[in-house]
C-alpha cells in the first residue's frame, strides 16, 4: 500500500530525520593496506664488485700503496716498476694501459651502465704488498685515503694493516673502497645545482639502500642516477627455494635517471626522468626486466577537497606542480550544483595568482589558501549563478 509516486508532491518544509541503522553497523574493512609501491622505483645498483679472487693463476703486479697524495691513488703503476714511489708514476690522466698491465687483474668490474671502473693491481714482484687501485678518468677526485686523513678520527683504511695472508683482505678492501665511493658520489650529487635533484635527495636518501651517482656525459646534459633496491638485502631468494642453483644473492633495482637542467629558470619544465629496471642475471631468467612497463612519471600531483559554504557545495582541485613550493599550486573550483547545458559541472578558470610565498611554512601555506578559498568561493558561487542565468 505504498503511495503512488505520481501523488508524491514536494515534501513538506520540515526536514525528515535521517534514518538510523537499527543494528550497529560493523566496520567491514579489514584495514588491509595494500602493498603498493611507494612510487620510487628501485635503482639499479652501481656496479657490484665481482670478485675473482686471487688464485695461483694470478700473476701479481703491484706497487706499494702510497698515501702521499691524490695522484698516488690514481696513478697507474708502470709495469715492472720496482719503485715504491708513486711519484714516479704520477699521471693525472689515469689511463688504463691494459696492454702494459697484462699481469694485473681487473677485480672490480662495473656494470656497463656505470662509467666507473676500477682495477686492482698486484705487483708480481712484491706479492705481499697491498694492491694498487686504479680508477677511471671521471673519478679523478675520488680520494678515499685522503678522506680518512680528513676525517681525523683515527680511522684507517684496511690498507694500513694489510695482511697478505688474510683471505678476506681483498674483499674487505673492495668493500671499504665501495662504501667510500658511494659517499663520494653522494657528495658529488649534492653539489649539483638543480632544484629538482636537490629536492629528491632531501626526501629520498634517508631510505635504506638508495644510492646515487653522477653520470657525466659529453654529448648531453649531465645526469644523476638513483638506484633503489627493490628487494630487502636480507632476502635471499636462493635460500627460499630448495635446490635453487643460484650461487650469488640476487638483486633487483630501479634506476631513476634525472637529467640536470642547465638553465636556472624555474619556468622551464624539467623533463621526466628515465626509469629502468636492472637485475642480476639469474633473476632475469625469472623476471624479464625489459618487458616490465613502469608507470609513467606523473607531471605533478593532484588532490581534490570537498567543501561547503552555506548550502553551496563545491570541490577544489589542487594541481601541485613539479616546482612546488617555488611555484604555487594551481586551484580550480568546481560546483556540485551548477552545470553547463551538456551536463558538465561549471568550473572556475585555473587560479594561480593568489598570495603565495615559498618561504612560508606548511601550516601557514594551508591557512592562507584556506582563507583565500573562503572568500573566493563566494565569487565563484556568483560566477556559477551568472552562468546559469545566461544559459536561460
Amino acid at each position: 500500500m505504498s503511495p503512488s509516486a505520481d501523488a508524491a508532491g514536494p515534501a513538506s518544509s520540515a526536514s525528515a530525520p535521517p534514518l538510523t541503522p537499527s543494528s550497529r553497523r560493523s566496520s567491514t574493512t579489514s584495514s588491509r593496506t595494500p602493498s603498493f609501491p611507494s612510487g620510487y622505483a628501485l635503482p639499479s645498483p652501481p656496479a657490484l664488485p665481482r670478485l675473482r679472487l686471487a688464485t695461483r693463476r694470478l700473476t701479481w703486479l703491484a706497487c706499494r700503496w702510497d698515501r702521499s697524495g691524490p695522484a698516488a691513488a690514481t696513478a697507474a703503476p708502470p709495469i715492472g716498476s720496482r719503485s715504491p714511489s708513486p711519484s714516479a708514476s704520477t699521471t693525472s690522466t689515469v689511463t688504463h694501459p691494459r696492454s702494459k698491465r697484462s699481469n694485473g687483474t681487473r677485480v672490480w668490474n662495473c656494470s656497463s651502465d656505470s662509467a666507473t671502473a676500477g682495477d686492482f693491481v698486484y705487483n708480481a714482484l712484491s706479492p705481499k704488498v697491498a694492491p694498487d687501485v686504479v680508477f677511471g678518468p671521471e673519478d679523478e677526485r675520488f680520494q678515499p685515503l685522503v678522506d680518512y686523513d680528513v676525517a681525523g678520527n683515527g680511522d684507517k683504511s684496511c690498507l694500513a694493516r694489510w695482511d697478505c695472508r688474510a683471505p678476506e683482505g681483498l674483499l674487505a678492501l673492495v668493500q671499504e673502497l665501495r662504501e667510500l665511493y658511494i659517499e663520494y658520489q653522494k657528495k658529488r650529487v649534492h653539489m649539483v645545482d638543480d632544484a629538482r635533484v636537490a629536492f629528491e635527495l632531501s626526501t629520498v636518501l634517508s631510505k635504506e639502500g638508495i644510492e646515487v651517482c653522477m653520470v657525466p656525459s659529453a654529448d648531453r646534459p649531465d645526469e644523476v642516477k638513483f638506484a633503489v633496491p627493490l628487494l630487502d638485502s636480507d632476502l635471499d631468494i636462493a635460500k627460499l627455494v630448495p635446490g635453487c642453483p643460484w650461487r650469488l644473492p640476487q638483486k633487483i633495482h630501479l634506476q631513476v635517471i634525472f637529467p640536470i637542467s642547465r638553465s636556472s629558470s624555474y619556468s622551464s619544465m624539467p623533463s621526466a626522468p628515465r626509469l629502468k629496471l636492472i637485475s642480476t642475471p639469474d633473476l632475469k631468467s625469472l623476471l624479464s626486466v625489459e618487458d616490465v612497463k613502469l608507470p609513467p612519471w606523473s607531471n605533478g600531483m593532484r588532490a581534490t577537497i570537498l567543501s561547503i559554504s552555506g548550502i553551496f557545495t563545491f570541490l577544489v582541485h589542487f594541481a601541485i606542480p613539479l616546482q612546488f613550493p617555488k611555484q604555487q599550486p594551481v586551484l580550480t573550483l568546481q560546483s556540485s550544483q551548477h552545470c553547463n547545458a551538456d551536463g558538465t559541472p561549471i568550473m572556475s578558470p585555473p587560479i594561480n595568482d593568489y598570495p603565495w610565498s615559498p618561504r612560508w611554512d606548511q601550516a601557514d601555506m594551508v591557512e592562507r589558501i584556506y582563507d583565500f578559498l573562503t572568500d573566493e568561493c563566494q565569487n565563484f558561487k556568483k560566477f556559477c549563478s551568472d552562468a546559469i542565468t545566461q544559459q536561460k
Partner: protein
C-alpha cells in the same frame, strides 16, 4: 582522520600510489525513480539532463526545463549527479573508468565494459529511464555476481572495483542470495526515499541496504540517504563518494564537507536544514 576533538590529530596521507578505479553504477529504474524532487532543486540546478544531445549554451536546456514550476524528478537529479561524478572523477584522475547498469527486478548492464571516455559515459547515463510500473522485487544477486567477476579482472590489472548503487524504493527491501565469499569490490549506496509514513518503511529498507553493504564490501563503503527530496543534497552525497576507498575513514567518523564559513557565520550555517556538519575549528 581529523576529528573535532579538542586535540584533533593531524591528517596525514601516507605516500603511495592509489590504484585507479573501475566504477560500476547501478541505478534503480523502478517507478519510484519518477518521484518529484523538491521544487527548490529545480532553481538551484540547471540545464537538462534528460536529453541525449547537448544543447547550445543559452538555450533553455530542453525538457524538463529548469524553470521554477517544472518538476525535476529523481531520475533527472540522479542523471545530473552521475554526470557530476564522472566529470569530477576524471578531473581528479583521467585513469578512472565507468560502467552503467540498471536495477529493475534484477540487474542488467547498459553496455559491456568500463570506459574512461566521458562521451560514452554521458550516452549511457542519458539512456537510463525510469519504468512506468513497479517491479515485484529488487534482486541484487546478479549485481554482486557481475561485480565479483569484474573485481577479479580489475585486481589482475592493478585496479580497484567499486559499485555505486542508487536505490529509490521506500517500501521494497532489496534481496540477494550472495554467499559469503572473499570480497573483491567496494559497495557504496545512495538511498533516495520518501518521508517515513504509515504506508512505507524506508527504515527497514535502509537496514537491509546496510546489511547488504556489510556483506559484500571489501573496503569501507558509504551508505548515504536522504528523504528531503533536495537535488543539492544528492549532489553533495555524490561528491562524498568521489573519495577513493583506500583514503576513507569509517563512516562513523565521516564529517565532510566542512563549512568554510568564517566563525561569525558558523552559527547561521548551523541553522540550515541540510544537516551538514559545522566545523568548529579554524
Amino acid at each position: 582522520m581529523a576529528t573535532d576533538a579538542a586535540a584533533a590529530p593531524r591528517y596525514s596521507l601516507p605516500p603511495g600510489r592509489l590504484p585507479a578505479e573501475d566504477i560500476l553504477f547501478c541505478v534503480d529504474v523502478d517507478l519510484e525513480a519518477r518521484a518529484e524532487m523538491k521544487s527548490a532543486a529545480a532553481a538551484a540546478s540547471s540545464g537538462s539532463t534528460s536529453t541525449a544531445s547537448p544543447q547550445p549554451a543559452g538555450a533553455a536546456g530542453g525538457a524538463p526545463a529548469a524553470g521554477p514550476r517544472t518538476a525535476v524528478r529523481r531520475m533527472d537529479a540522479i542523471k545530473q549527479a552521475l554526470l557530476l561524478f564522472v566529470h569530477s572523477k576524471l578531473t581528479m584522475c583521467p585513469d578512472h573508468r565507468f560502467a552503467f547498469g540498471s536495477l529493475g527486478e534484477a540487474f542488467s548492464m547498459v553496455k559491456k565494459g568500463f570506459s574512461s571516455d566521458a562521451g560514452s559515459a554521458m550516452e549511457a547515463i542519458h539512456s537510463l529511464s525510469a519504468s512506468e510500473s513497479r517491479y515485484a522485487m529488487a534482486d541484487l544477486t546478479q549485481l554482486f555476481m557481475t561485480a565479483n567477476h569484474e573485481g577479479t579482472r580489475a585486481e589482475s590489472q592493478g585496479r580497484l572495483l567499486r559499485v555505486v548503487l542508487i536505490y529509490c524504493r521506500s517500501s521494497m527491501k532489496p534481496q540477494h542470495q550472495w554467499p559469503v565469499k572473499p570480497k573483491n569490490f567496494t559497495l557504496d549506496i545512495i538511498y533516495l526515499h520518501d518521508k517515513p509514513s504509515a504506508d512505507n518503511c524506508p527504515q527497514m529498507v535502509y537496514d537491509a541496504l546496510v546489511d547488504a553493504l556489510d556483506h559484500v564490501s571489501q573496503y569501507e563503503g558509504y551508505i548515504l540517504e536522504t528523504g528531503q527530496g533536495l537535488a543539492r543534497v544528492l549532489f553533495r552525497q555524490m561528491c562524498i563518494l568521489l573519495s577513493h576507498p583506500l583514503q576513507r575513514c569509517i563512516q562513523d567518523d565521516l564529517d565532510i564537507p566542512k563549512q568554510v564559513a568564517k566563525k561569525t557565520l558558523a552559527i547561521e550555517a548551523a541553522q540550515n536544514e541540510d544537516g551538514t556538519p559545522v566545523s568548529s575549528q579554524q
